[in-house]
Symmetry: C2
Amino acid sequence: MPKQRITKEMILDVAFKLAREKGGEHVVLKNIAAEIGCSVQPIYSYYDNMETLKETVFGAAMQFYNRFIYSRVDADGILESMARANVAFAKYETNLFKLLFLQKLNGLNSFDDIYEWMGDKQAATQLAEKLSLTENEIKEIYIMLIVFTHGVATMIATGGANISDEESASVLEKAYRAFVKAQT
Amino acid sequence: MPKQRITKEMILDVAFKLAREKGGEHVVLKNIAAEIGCSVQPIYSYYDNMETLKETVFGAAMQFYNRFIYSRVDADGILESMARANVAFAKYETNLFKLLFLQKLNGLNSFDDIYEWMGDKQAATQLAEKLSLTENEIKEIYIMLIVFTHGVATMIATGGANISDEESASVLEKAYRAFVKAQT
DNA sequence: ATGGTTATATAATATATGTTATATAGCAGT
DNA sequence: ACTGCTATATAACATATATTATATAACCAT
């Protein structure tokens, strides 16, 4: 049999690159094939249909997001750095941000779910000691800050992204301090 | 000439209803024609192309949004009621919320722009007296609350909308108090 | 070297959308 | 009643997408 010129990885890489650089709506058969320089058959030999390929791209985007955030988390100032990282993701990886957080539904049912879903429990415990607050109070602060951060991030992602990093960092800091102060 | 059976208003009404009840992506030629029970010609006789019709639908959605919000604004507690109204819009008019705030770009460049764009100046002046704060401090609170509200609204609109009105009202109230307290 | 397996290419098919061309038929004015 | 204008219908055309069918050609085993 002839050796394979196109691998499953090549297809996913190109599809992900399209999603990242042009937006999720550009992840279509002909664009992928054209970018690789092949026909549509290799794609169908690895993926049953476009649907499953797009799901794989979504998973890759989620993985990319997690690495992006964790690479920017700072041990002192966990919540603030995480908030800044999320806003940076919305600004510099706008297409992926939209794909992950503005299109797909993830079925949250309460704000506690948000904490479960996004929360980093270890960080919460550490911070409770540092600020000498209860874990429940930290949780409260965390949820409030996540919601606020998501507001900033969404506005940046949908608004054309011209708010400077300094300005968004400043507003995040204000929100964080306000939420901490409120627990007094 | 034969009397016209289909009016421009009928077309816009049906297109808007589709956007509201099924989502913006369902505003397509055949759906509109099918819903009215006519061919595609009347639509083209009133609108040059689908693009302009969709822009008109967007405008109608914006008008609907403004009425929705203003009908729920309460004279005492302007900011809180406006925040709750925005979250209610995201929950009960999810399709329109997505159309207006999660898809189109509106080109904001700074958070001051947000204030200019969304802000109700009169409310700000009144509130400044009531809380005996400067207008700049009110502006600060306003911007922070708008961002927070947008975070809640977006999470509800994209997350499947099962957070109760009480829970979201409670979290909005907390945020408002935190932002007011921070100006002390 | 030859034949068979299979990776890939080419091309056909299906569906959804928008747009335009042609046909029909209802009403106003004479 | 006839003529002509025009609102609407029917149908053709164009494009974009996914999917499937058929053809080709490269490589391994014999």
